[in-house]
């Protein structure tokens, strides 16, 4: 969204746009290399597979983008995903209507996020520690709630909607991909075209100045964590419905994948700079990387190391161009 320089004229602006798309260029180059090494990469089935696998991380990362743009961080998303998944599965097993489960679960995630946000805003706690507490607390709560065992969502009529959410197809494309696209379209609109979006960037840029401009920064931060929590809950629903059950350890470590996607997409961890389109690219890079390494038969131990190095390289390149 905002790269520095741009001293004047349109030529520099164009250059900036190119630089801005660096993650995308990287993704394309990477895709070309992988497809040469293994032509199967480019098959429709594989590409859809990547997108479906990416959708979970991408949806969480979309919420994370809001949080990071304000200069915060949300470590609790993985645990919110788990507890929301567990609650939704047990509600379905208990015979509650699928639509109601969907709405209640998302509201639950939103509230959990808002609670963290309130401690951060009004309790003046650091985001890192607050969401770390929430992460641990909610993971524990999930284990208590599930008694450490998976909860099946059952096969009743009320679970049908959930079957579609996680495993359904529309025009041959998995439903989670539609959900992901919808989430990104809405988030992009909100960030780019609304007052709220401007304020998110402003808070990350300079909180004091934003306050003095007559903006209720406290309320805004609560909202941002609420969005992150709500989207984590949505991701939890997709995972639960895909597996047909909720795992007590679901979502472990997902917060880091989400943060990686956001940062890979060029959003600054100190806030104020970034974009939602960058985040989806970042999530895709992580998705494509995992898929490609699988196709190339790289052992999962090495995969982790390679993933880490790719993230490091990407962030280094980004730093150079942002400076």
């Amino acid at each position: 969204m905002k790269t520095s320089a741009a001293l004047n004229g349109t030529t520099i602006k164009k250059e900036n746009k190119l630089l801005k798309n660096k993650p995308l260029i990287g993704l394309i180059i990477f895709g070309v290399i992988v497809s040469i090494l293994n032509p199967r990469f480019l098959s429709t089935a594989n590409l859809l597979n990547i997108l479906r696998q990416t959708s979970i991380n991408a949806i969480i990362a979309a919420g994370m983008t809001f949080v990071i743009l304000t200069g915060g961080i949300d470590l609790s998303v993985g645990s919110i995903l788990a507890i929301c998944g567990a609650v939704s599965a047990s509600m379905l097993a208990g015979g509650v209507n699928g639509y109601i489960v969907l709405i209640v679960t998302i509201i639950l995630g939103t509230i959990l996020g808002a609670v963290s946000g309130s401690f951060i805003s009004y309790g003046k706690l650091q985001a890192f520690i607050t969401t770390l507490v929430a992460m641990t607390l909610l993971r524990g709560a999930t284990l208590v709630f599930t008694d450490g065992k998976p909860i099946s969502m059952g096969f009743g009529e009320n679970a049908e909607l959930f079957d579609i959410i996680g495993g359904g197809y529309l025009f041959g494309i998995p439903v989670p991909i539609y959900i992901m696209i919808a989430v990104f379209a809405v988030c992009n609109y909100v960030l780019k075209n609304t007052k709220f979006g401007r304020y998110v960037f402003a808070v990350g840029g300079n909180e004091e100045a934003t306050k003095l401009s007559g903006i209720n920064v406290e309320k805004l931060k609560v909202k941002v964590y609420a969005i992150s929590g709500g989207l984590a809950a949505l991701a939890g629903i997709i995972i639960t419905s895909r597996l047909g059950s909720a795992q007590p350890t679901a979502g472990t470590g997902y917060e880091l994948d989400a943060i990686a996607a956001v940062v890979l997409g060029g959003t600054s961890l100190s806030g104020g700079i970034g974009s939602i389109s960058g985040t989806i690219t970042g999530a895709l890079i992580i998705g494509v990387l995992g898929n490609a390494l699988n196709l190339l038969d790289v052992s999962s131990y090495y995969q982790m190391m390679i993933k880490a190095l790719v993230i490091l390289a990407a962030v280094l390149i980004d730093r150079k161009t942002h400076k």
Binding site: N193, T194, A202, G205, N206, L212, S213
Partner: protein, 501 residues
């Protein structure tokens, strides 16, 4: 006269602009050289070339008669050139000694030799007449004292040439005086000073020579004793300036703001009122509580007792958003701190407080409408920016200030509080800001101006209110106000009967 440093023919290009175009500066042994120019004239770029932070595209730097090349500030420091930046680079929670020797800690056997470091630091502090022990934390010091620590740092590096960039911008009068004493002592020790300041009065007080720049070009070098203030201003702006303060008289309207018995965290017993079309100047020394009063009215600080009335109606303002709703706007004294968002564009800064009025269907910001209004302000305020999407940090101080004022104006305020509206603003832009303020007055706006510049306060205000120790010590009509009376109230030796209510 021996030239210790001779810089000439400097050219420096940035994408799209030539920042320096044949710039020249001589630094004489044991003399103070003033470097003058409007904001954007190229002074900072010149400093960065001189200290090796930027590479020049053309030109020569001679140090002690030998041509030199500095690759980075380390090398220029080694050659004895130190720069004290406008924004101080000190770490509050470290001790004075640690700050002075930061990155050059004195060691013995791979361990920091604390005794030696504290002793060395104490010696330098003593030389600068600072009463503090070097074990004190820097965070405890006032801005003026911090400035001294920066000078101490330069001295500890054995600097021969010290560059001071707007050193008195945030200093009180007494602090300025002790800074000048230190400068005089340094000069007596044959050190050379490059002194950058907007305050022309100081140039005549402390400088021997003056170099004037304009638009990146060298304009003039003169012996200060031979020139006048008008001469400098003329060379700086390239035109004759008269009537710095074209005061206009407007008929005052009803009382728009009345503050009654206001006390709070940072203010006590404040009583005053403000009419439509009136400019109320608030004078006082740094720390008198002027900004705090403004921010209390604006809802940033809690009030414990008292009332505020707007157009005769009691209002309860507890946050800036409530202040803006009540048509009070505040322009901060600290553009970089809490006034502007440096990472955002001119447009985004200007409309930030007024986005609500551009909201259309589906909460979408009507960018067309927004751009039209921003454009209007850019042309009305004569803001110099290539486009409205330019990042605000790339604008000069004067233009940034105009954006800050435009941002406040966009909220359609009835009461406008301007806190140091011309701080760090060059002479030309100052005049433009004064004209704008007068125009607002003409439109019937009620204006409060907080300023540390006496001529500005006297030149613009209908009434002048003086503060000392969080409260009001005098309110004068401009006919009866004199610098002496104001200063007496500002230092607390006189308390004028206040005929408000």
């Amino acid at each position: 006269m021996e030239k210790i440093l001779e810089i000439s023919g400097i050219i420096k290009d940035f994408p799209g602009v030539r920042a320096l175009d044949g710039a020249k500066l001589n630094v004489y042994q044991g003399k103070v050289m003033a470097l003058l120019g409007e904001n954007g004239a190229g002074k900072s770029t010149m400093m960065k070339i001189m200290t090796g932070i930027y590479k020049r595209d053309a030109g020569i730097i001679k140090h002690n008669g030998k041509e030199v090349e500095f690759n980075g500030p380390k090398e220029s420091q080694d050659a004895g050139i130190s720069i004290i930046h406008q924004e101080l680079n000190l770490i509050d929670h470290l001790s004075i000694a640690e700050n002075i020797f930061l990155g050059r800690e004195l060691t013995k056997n791979f361990r920091i030799d604390w005794n030696l470091m504290f002793n060395e630091a104490d010696i330098i502090l003593k030389k600068l007449n600072l009463k503090y022990s070097s074990k004190e934390l820097v965070g405890k010091l006032s801005i003026g004292e911090k400035q001294m620590i920066e000078i101490a740092k330069a001295l500890s590096q054995n600097a021969k040439i010290i560059v001071m960039d707007e050193p008195t911008d945030a200093l009180t009068d007494t602090e300025t005086e002790s800074l000048f004493n230190v400068i005089k002592e340094l000069v007596a020790e044959n050190k050379s000073i490059v002194y950058i300041s907007h305050r022309l009065k100081e140039i005549f007080e402390i400088c021997d020579y003056a170099t004037i720049m304009r638009d990146g070009k060298f304009i003039d070098e003169a012996v200060v004793a031979d020139i006048t203030e008008d001469h400098i201003i003329e060379k700086m702006v390239g035109r004759k300036l008269k009537d710095q303060f074209p005061r206009i008289d407007t008929e005052l309207g009803d009382v728009s703001l009345r503050v009654k018995d206001l006390s709070g965290e940072v203010t006590k017993d404040i009583n005053f009122s403000l009419q439509k079309g009136e400019i109320l100047g608030i004078a006082g020394l740094m720390g008198a509580g002027r900004t705090e009063l403004a921010k209390t009215i604006y809802g940033c600080f809690k009030k414990t007792s008292g009332q505020i009335y707007i157009d005769g109606k009691k209002v309860d303002i507890n946050s800036p958003q409530e202040a803006l709703k009540n048509k009070i706007a505040y322009v901060s004294e600290d553009r970089k701190g809490d006034g502007l968002l440096l990472g955002l564009s001119v447009k985004e800064n200007m409309s930030l407080s007024s986005l609500l009025k551009f909201e259309s269907r589906y909460k979408k910001i009507d960018e067309k409408k927004e751009k039209i209004e921003v454009k209007e302000f850019i042309s009305k305020f004569n803001i110099k920016t290539p486009t409205m999407d330019q990042l605000i940090k790339n604008l000069s101080g004067g233009n940034q200030q105009k954006v800050a004022i435009a941002k406040a104006l966009m909220t359609n305020p009835k009461i406008l509080i301007l806190d140091e509206p011309t701080r760090g603003v060059d002479v030309g832009a100052k005049k433009e800001i004064y004209d704008l303020i007068n125009e607002f007055k003409h439109q019937g706006m009620s204006i409060i101006i907080i300023s540390s510049e006496m001529p500005e306060i006297l030149g613009l205000s209908d009434r002048i209110m003086v503060m000392y120790d969080k409260t009001i010590t005098g309110i004068f009509r401009r006919e009866e106000a004199t610098q002496e009376k104001i200063m007496k109230c500002a230092i607390g030796v006189m308390k004028e009967e206040i005929d408000e209510n």
